[in-house]
């Protein structure tokens, strides 16, 4: 969603049009829900935490500064919600996360070996992501899966720009080591 459209929707919400908020929910429910899945490994807890995140963001919308990107701000709220939840449940931050290996939905002809190899590598990366800590995992997912700029990754994780760059780089290096250890060179 273009930033100008986001701000227009936010402006409508602040003017009293609550229904307009559904646009932002539909746009960002998937990444926030999957964040909660990775953090809790529980679909029910992920659902509750996602709803709580959006409601808390709605209540705090007056504090959202115009000119900023909405998703990193929303993501920060979600991450804090997840950490508070785990702290209350006295649970360890779930390092393995919830990254179910989902088969590629596109049909693949059996004779296209290169594509099969690529799909296998994606599954390996998905599996490797479970083995690194959540702070590196989220940095990598925000940067490469959600396609955020390093600046927005820093904003979402509450880091400086240089710290965010380092977090992403080290996270990739960890994944690389895991993949090499598993024989994927």
């Amino acid at each position: 969603m273009v930033r100008q459209e986001e701000h227009r929707v936010i402006s409508l919400v602040l003017d009293g049009d609550a229904d307009a908020y559904a646009i932002l929910v539909k746009r960002y429910e998937r990444p926030i829900y999957n964040l909660m899945l990775r953090m809790t490994a529980s679909p029910q807890d992920a659902l509750d935490l996602t709803q709580t995140t959006f409601i808390k963001a709605y209540d705090s919308l007056e504090r959202f500064r115009a000119g900023r990107s909405f998703f990193p701000w929303l993501y920060t709220i979600g991450l804090n919600q997840a950490k508070d939840f785990l702290r209350r449940r006295k649970l360890e931050l779930f390092h393995n996360g919830y990254l179910e290996d989902v088969a590629d939905k596109a049909s693949v002809p059996a004779d296209q070996e290169e594509r099969l190899i690529s799909q296998a590598r994606v599954r390996e990366v998905q599996s490797a992501l479970k083995q690194i800590s959540w702070d590196y995992r989220e940095a990598i997912i925000l940067r490469f899966y959600e396609n955020l700029s390093v600046k927005d990754v820093a904003a979402a994780l509450g880091l400086s720009l240089s710290a965010a760059k380092m977090r992403v780089h080290r996270g990739l290096a960890m994944l690389r080591h895991i993949l090499l250890d598993n024989g994927y060179g």
């Binding site: 919400v13 602040l14 003017d15 009293g16 049009d17 609550a18 229904d19 908020y21 559904a22 929910v25 539909k26 429910e29 998937r30 990444p31 829900y33 999957n34 899945l37 679909p43 659902l47 996602t50 709803q51 959006f54 409601i55 709605y58 209540d59 919308l61 007056e62 990254l99 179910e100 290996d101 989902v102 590629d104 590598r121 994606v122 390996e124 990366v125 998905q126 992501l129 990598i140 997912i141 940067r143 490469f144 899966y145 396609n147 780089h169 990739l172 290096a173 994944l175 690389r176 080591h177 993949l179 090499l180 250890d181 060179g185």
Partner: protein, 213 residues
Amino acid sequence: MKREREASDRPADRGEDLSRDLRFIGGLVARIQDQTPPDALLAGVMAGIEPKKPSAGRRFWRLLTRPQYVRFTPMGLVYGVVLLAVVLAGWSWVGLPRFSPSQEPSLAPISAGTENYRFTLSLAKGESTQAKSVAVIGDFNNWTPQGYEMIWDEDCHCYNLSLPLPRGRYQYAFLVDGRILADPRALLTQEDGFGHKNSIVIINHDQSREKNI
């Protein structure tokens, strides 16, 4: 640690190979699959929020920046125009400063180039001084007697009035109880076109002496 030591021995840890690998892994991350959230998620969020009440500042800003539409009936428009016309008419009548010609005689201001000239109407010895009003009128006061009443001087048995007049030539006359009389002492007179003769006085400050011609 062991893993780190083993990793550092790998040729693939060197420079360009490392960068290439990391970029490749980033590309793989972009292709991972995630989960579709349940349909109930949106309904749960919308059920948990209430419409916000805009702040006073926001309402004011909206009033200033959004187009406002005014509806009116033709009769309402006519009433408005008539009311505006009445207000403007009343404003012009009351509010604007009026210019009313002064009823007071406007004497020529005494400036550096004026000197007092004494008009004198002498009466013959024994002549009655029963006149109720004697005034001098002329070019210098728009032929208006108010404020130019002459004063009886018993010593000279005459009516006098001194006026500051700038240099120039003036026609004048005396107005005695409504009757216009030329100055009997004036040497130069001029017809006024109404059957009367006006007297002429020339004020010449260069010679520092008035001349009553």
